[in-house]
Symmetry: C2
Subunit: 160 residues, 2 copies
DNA sequence: GCTAGAATATAGCATATGCTATATCAAGCA
DNA sequence: TGCTTGATATAGCATATGCTATATTCTAGC
């Protein structure tokens, strides 16, 4: 046997020391979750932005999406292809992009989540600029349970 | 000129409608920030975990890191190579991994940040399990300004 | 209708992060 | 000492997300 024997000793030690380290499988699940979230957050961002652009100007063009996301136009084109394959948007060659019913649904949910997180940060005392910046990253990692707590907090803070 | 002329009209329209859409450059900066954070969050996770394993059992082995991150061992090996190149960890072939001073510093900062976020979620009423899960994703997207607000909130909540 | 300029499509490349399969090394035990 | 077994190293592949360069198409204005 190699050095594996240390494992049990370590576990016992950790338990005695107060269990700083969480359960292995549980921790692994956290990280898997975070990786999954990372994969889907781009999709959310695109769909949410497309919905905003359509609501705002009637159409969503690749150049505008690219400018707002801070990426190059071919990057957007490639992602739109993927979104089309996933049934979230529809595209006609050389035309604007539109959301399917499913895409619109996802956009609505994303927008709601985004709004709750940003409102919460503001309610808790974060300045508007940082609230806006941080929300863009945080929103994708907030579970439904946590989101509910945030929403309640905002509601309570609104009527003191 | 193509359809670019619609831009100004859209902007004006948005302004009149209440400015739902943020400034283009500002929004692009948010997304760029989020992408940057995404790149560095894995590094933070590794370094933080390595520090925990060393503190807990005296050494950080690839198999343990892999098990806790929920990835395969070669994935860890590849990442450790990168961390070594960045001067955050030291490696001797077929031996455990150790942190450089710089790595230890990053681990300390990550751990502090992690702790503040998790404490904040608990203080605001999130259940422990979701607090732990969500913290893993959120911690990397919290600016210093927001972190300070979280810390203050935890402190206030502690002594009512 | 043509044409010029803007937008989109496509090709090809780079990097990062995963994986499986397999070779190599280290350490305990017969 | 040599063998067995667990850990690490390495090769090769896949996918996702970026980029630049370039071809194609649309639209507006003449």
């Amino acid at each position: 046997m190699g050095r594996g024997a240390a494992d049990k000793a370590n576990a016992a030690e950790a338990a005695e020391a107060g269990g700083q380290l969480a359960d292995v499988e549980s921790q692994a699940e956290s990280f898997r979750r975070a990786r999954r979230a990372r994969r889907s957050e781009l999709v959310d961002d695109y769909v949410e932005l497309i919905a905003d652009l359509i609501a705002d100007g009637g159409e969503a063009r690749q150049v505008d999406i690219a400018a707002r996301l801070g990426v190059a136009q071919p990057t957007v084109a490639k992602m739109l292809k993927r979104l089309t394959e996933e049934g979230l948007v529809t595209q006609r060659p050389y035309r604007g992009v539109f959301l399917t019913a499913e895409g619109q649904d996802l956009a609505d949910r994303s927008r709601r989540r985004h709004h709750i997180v940003e409102s919460f940060l503001l309610a808790v005392g974060v300045d508007p600029e940082h609230a806006r910046l941080d929300t863009e990253g945080i929103e994708h990692h907030v579970s439904d349970a946590t989101l509910a707590v945030f929403a309640r907090f905002v509601k309570e803070a609104g009527k003191p």
